[in-house]
Structures are given as C-alpha cells and as structure tokens.
C-alpha cells in the first residue's frame, strides 16, 4: 500500500508543477545554433553570386544521393568582377530523400552549403512529393533574403581535406580552387573515387 501512496504523492506534486511544454505552432522554442534542418546554400553578398562553385563534392559524398549539381563558367569572372572561375549552374536537392546527416556540409570546401538552423528548415510539409525537390533559387532564397540570419558555418570540410582557411585568404583560395586543374586535383583528392 505504501508504494501506491508514494506514487500518488508524486503524481499530485507533479500536478502543481509548471508545464515544460510550449504551445508549438504559435510558440516556438529557440533552436540551438548548430541545429540541423535541411541543407541550404549560402549567398555571397559581396560578389552577388552563390558561394557554391558546383564542384560536386557534396553530390559525391551524399549517402542517399539526393544532390545533383552542374557547373558552368562564371560570366562574372570574364568581366573581372569575381575570382570564382566556375560557378554553380543547376543545383537540385531532394528534401524527400535527404536524411540531414550533415556530410555535405562537412565536405564542402567553400562553406557554400549549411544546415538550416531556423524553424523554416524543418517545417516543410507539401502536398506533392515533387515539390520537395528544391532548385537553386529556392535553396538560395533564405540566405539571400536574410531569413537565415546566423548560419552555423564551421570550416569542417576544410578540416577534413587538410585545407585551412586563414582570415582574408578566402577569396584567393576560392579562385585557386576554381581553376580547372586545381579543381580537378581537389576533387580527386577529396573523392578518391569513393
């Protein structure tokens, strides 16, 4: 009998406790900085173009093959406005297949892709499965409009490839890696044709 009395006592005490839940759709908890929503691409406001050079490292390392990327010559490079020789042409990311494992972010050499750490990164219901295949403008939208205020950019890919950025050298590095030979070398080094 004593056990039951203790159990009921616990339940009664709990009845007067402040609730720990929040009323979700109207009230949202703060997400930690590292929160992993679905991946999005970042926009380079200085050069007004994406950070992504279309090198396909993320596509190669995606465990579920949800990324498709193509590369093109950067028109701004010819005009001398940008140091990126190559730039992303098309980028499709299938959110229906993505399992938010963070590997694409870790392998990216240009810190061009991040996991969305806002609530918009997880609230993605759609009526049609096809609508979950995101194209380049849609992937860049949040970064361009400033909805993605403070993305978690940690030079992870860098750490893995042994390439370390130093302050102010990012542009140089980007230009260097965008050279065809260097890019090919980088890709081979990164991939090892896994």
């Amino acid at each position: 009998m004593l056990g039951m009395v203790k159990a009921i006592g616990t339940t009664l005490r709990a009845a007067f406790r402040k609730p720990v839940t929040v009323q979700y759709p109207t009230e949202k908890k703060d997400l930690p900085h590292r929160s992993r929503g679905f991946p999005v691409l970042l926009w380079d406001f200085e050069k007004t173009e994406p950070f992504c050079t279309g090198c396909q490292v993320c596509a190669r390392y995606c465990p579920v093959d949800c990324i498709t990327v193509t590369m093109k010559d950067n028109p701004k490079f010819a005009e001398g406005k940008s140091k990126r020789k190559k730039i992303v042409d098309k980028f499709y990311l299938d959110y229906a297949r993505c399992m938010r494992c963070d590997i694409c972010v870790e392998v990216c050499n240009f810190d061009a892709i991040v996991m969305n750490n806002t609530w918009e990164g997880v609230e993605l219901s759609r009526y049609d499965r096809q609508d979950l295949v995101m194209d380049l403008p849609e992937l860049l939208r949040q970064s361009r409009t400033g909805d993605l205020e403070d993305p978690f950019r940690e030079p992870m890919g860098v750490a893995h490839s042994g390439w370390a950025p130093k302050a102010g050298e990012e542009d140089e590095q980007a230009a260097q890696a965008a050279q065809p030979a260097a890019a090919a070398g980088e890709a081979a080094k990164e991939g090892g044709e896994g």
Partner: protein, 381 residues
C-alpha cells in the same frame, strides 16, 4: 459431458501498441495459457548490411543512427570503433571522453524510455512515460546543442567526434546532472515499490543465469539474471577504464529485476557522467583533423571521408543500452566495407522469448516483451 477445446492462435501485432514497433508475436493459446509463442519479424527490414557495402566508411555512420533509433550515439560509437580497429586509428583523449559522456547520456535517455514504456505495458497508461519524456527531452536538447540533431545524431566520426562541444554545453550538462538524481528519485517513488507494478512483474518471465547465457542474452536482461557481465568493465572502450562505477545486478531474473536493474544503471550513468564531466581534458577531438602541431594519423591523399583501411577484418563491441552491440567489418582495401555485420542486442535478446512466455498468460506476454526492451529498427535492421 466434456467440452472439446482446441488451441487458438492470436496475432499480437504487427500493428499493436505493445509490440514497440512493427513486430508480430503469434501466440497459440489454450484458454488463457500460452502453449506456443512464435516471432515474426522483418517488417522493418531495410537491408542495412547490404546498403553498407555500397557506401564508404564515413557514409555508413548516419545509417547506424537508424538501427537503434532510441540510442543513436551508441550505434555510431560501436561502428566507428570497428572502423578504427580496422584502420588502426587512435582517437585523441578528449574524443574518448566525449564519446563516454554521450554514450552515458544516451543510456539514461534510452533507459528512461524503456522503463516508461514498460510501465505503459503494465497498465500505467502514459503517466510515467510522460515523466520520463520530460527528462529525456533535456538530454536530447544537449545532443542538439552538440551536434545539431536530437535522434539521428551522426556525431561520432572515424578518429574522434565530428566537432567539439559548444561552450554552453558544459554549464547546461552540469545543471542537468544536478537535476536528474531528483528526477530519478521521482521515478522510483512512482514505480519501484508500486504494488501494481510488483504484482504484474514479480516472478513473471523468469530467465535463469544458465538459460540467459545459453541464449547469448546480454545487457540489462543478462544482469537481471545475476550475471555481472558488462562490456564497459569486461572489455573497456572509450574512457571507461578510467571511471569508477558498479555493475547493477539482479537476483531473480524476472521482469521486475530487469526493471530494477535499468533504474540502477541510470544511477550509475549519472555517477559516471559526474566523473566524466570533471575529468574531461582539453585538446583536439578528431585524430584526422590536422592542427597546427599534430598531423593526421591517416596519411594524405585520402582524407577520412575516403578512408581505405588495409585488408582485414575487425570486430568491435560496446555496451549499448540494450546489451552487447557489435559491428563486424571486413575490408578488401577498398573505400567501402566488403562485409558489414551488426550483432544487435535487441534481436538476440528476443531468442529466449518463447522460453519466457510459454506457460504464462497473454497479459504476462505483453509485460515480458516490454521488459526485453526491443527496438524493432535494430531487430530487423
């Protein structure tokens, strides 16, 4: 006049709240007595082992989250230790401690689910499990803070962990550790001496030490039968050899003892965490990441993401919340494993289920299945 009776077959599952997933139990009944129990599994089979042969060693880490989805950290850990054994990589000290901390947090979270759902099976519908959910959420918040995800963590990496914990982790974890013993007292008040729980579980589903060992049972189930076998002590991994803790052992091997052993293990987890948070050194968290002074153990040109271990085989085992979780890998020198096998505790702990259930009633069978604490994702893989 005698009534003619014949055995009656009842399917518990695949869609049944007490099977903890998509698992089917075929019970043959004589009146209310079980005369035969048959398990049907494979509803959640995802072909993990074959999928792994197509993917590189690092790409397989997120798949190990999804075998035991209530304990993703330990799933990650067992796999990366196997790859490290295969490739001969030694993770740095801080990574070992981070792995220990994460595994113990995961054990607490997983056991709180186990005993909450077990109380559900005993008929305490949803009230205890909500208590446990509250504290489990706080642990999942810590995981989210460290790696960004709550359940499918993907935190461990070959050669360490994916990234160091953020500065706000330690104060939050220390604060949580002060709270959790009080919460655990509450769980004990709520359930441990509760007459209904005792009546439902004392002397039910008894498994003797010999039977348990004969069926390769591991984890809390084996310890409840009185065998003090814990991989953390028997074959220490991560930083467990530097920690002081006891193995919680039961005496009767019944359902109640399994429950008590889990609660006692949660106490031990908190004890381990208290030590680990204090003893954790500073330093690098991944042997593969080059720092100013330390060059990666793995030589260029292949980074850890294209790791190619030498030909050979390796087996690594850890004490997951459910028992001995082992990964067996064979490398043919390529970027993907040649063979990838999971020794999953949920699956092997189910083997004596027929032994435990035959002779008892249907209501007891539900409680016995609850006490095994299966995760169907790990049973079927």
């Amino acid at each position: 006049m005698t009534l003619k009776t014949e055995p009656f077959v009842v399917n518990v599952g695949p869609q049944h709240p007490s099977t903890h997933g998509v698992f089917r139990l075929r019970l043959t009944l004589d009146g209310e007595k079980i005369i035969d129990a048959d398990m049907v599994m494979g509803y959640l089979h995802r072909s993990m082992e074959k999928l792994a042969e197509e993917r590189t060693y690092t790409q397989n880490i997120p798949f190990t989250d999804r075998t035991d989805y209530l304990a993703a950290m330990t799933g990650n850990l067992a796999y990366v230790i196997a790859v490290e054994n295969l490739a001969g990589v030694e993770p740095p000290e801080r990574a070992q401690w981070l792995r220990t901390i994460m595994s113990e947090l995961q054990r607490f979270a997983s056991h709180s689910m186990a005993i909450g759902i077990f109380a559900n099976d005993c008929g305490a519908w949803q009230t205890p499990v909500m208590h446990m959910f509250r504290d489990r959420e706080k642990i999942l918040d810590l995981f989210e803070m460290a790696c960004g995800a709550r359940l499918t963590t993907n935190y461990m990496r070959i050669g360490g962990v994916s990234r160091d914990i953020p500065p706000e982790f330690m104060p939050t974890a220390t604060k949580l550790l002060k709270d959790l013993p009080k919460r655990l007292d509450e769980y004990e008040n709520l359930l441990l001496e509760n007459e209904i729980i005792v009546a439902r579980s004392r002397g039910v589903g008894v498994l003797t030490a010999e039977q348990a060992m004969a069926h390769s049972v591991s984890g809390p189930m084996l310890r409840a039968s009185g065998v003090a076998w814990d991989i953390r002590k028997a074959d220490p991994y991560a930083a467990y050899d530097k920690l002081d803790f006891d193995i919680a052992v039961g005496t009767h091997g019944d359902v109640y003892d399994r429950f008590v052993v889990r609660v006692a293990e949660m106490r031990q987890s908190l004890h381990i965490l208290e030590q680990a948070l204090e003893m954790m050194p500073e330093g690098p968290v991944n042997a593969m990441q080059p720092t100013a002074t330390v060059q990666p153990a793995w030589s260029a040109p292949t980074g850890p993401l294209a790791i190619r271990p030498p030909e050979g085989e390796a087996y690594a085992r850890i004490e997951s919340p459910r028992g001995e979780l082992g990964f067996y890998l064979i490398s043919d020198g390529g970027p993907a494993p040649f063979r990838f096998h999971i020794r999953s505790p949920s699956f092997i702990n189910l083997t004596p289920l027929a032994l435990m259930t035959v002779g008892s009633t249907v209501a007891d069978a539900i409680v016995i299945l609850g006490s095994v604490d299966i995760v169907v994702g790990e049973v079927d893989r």
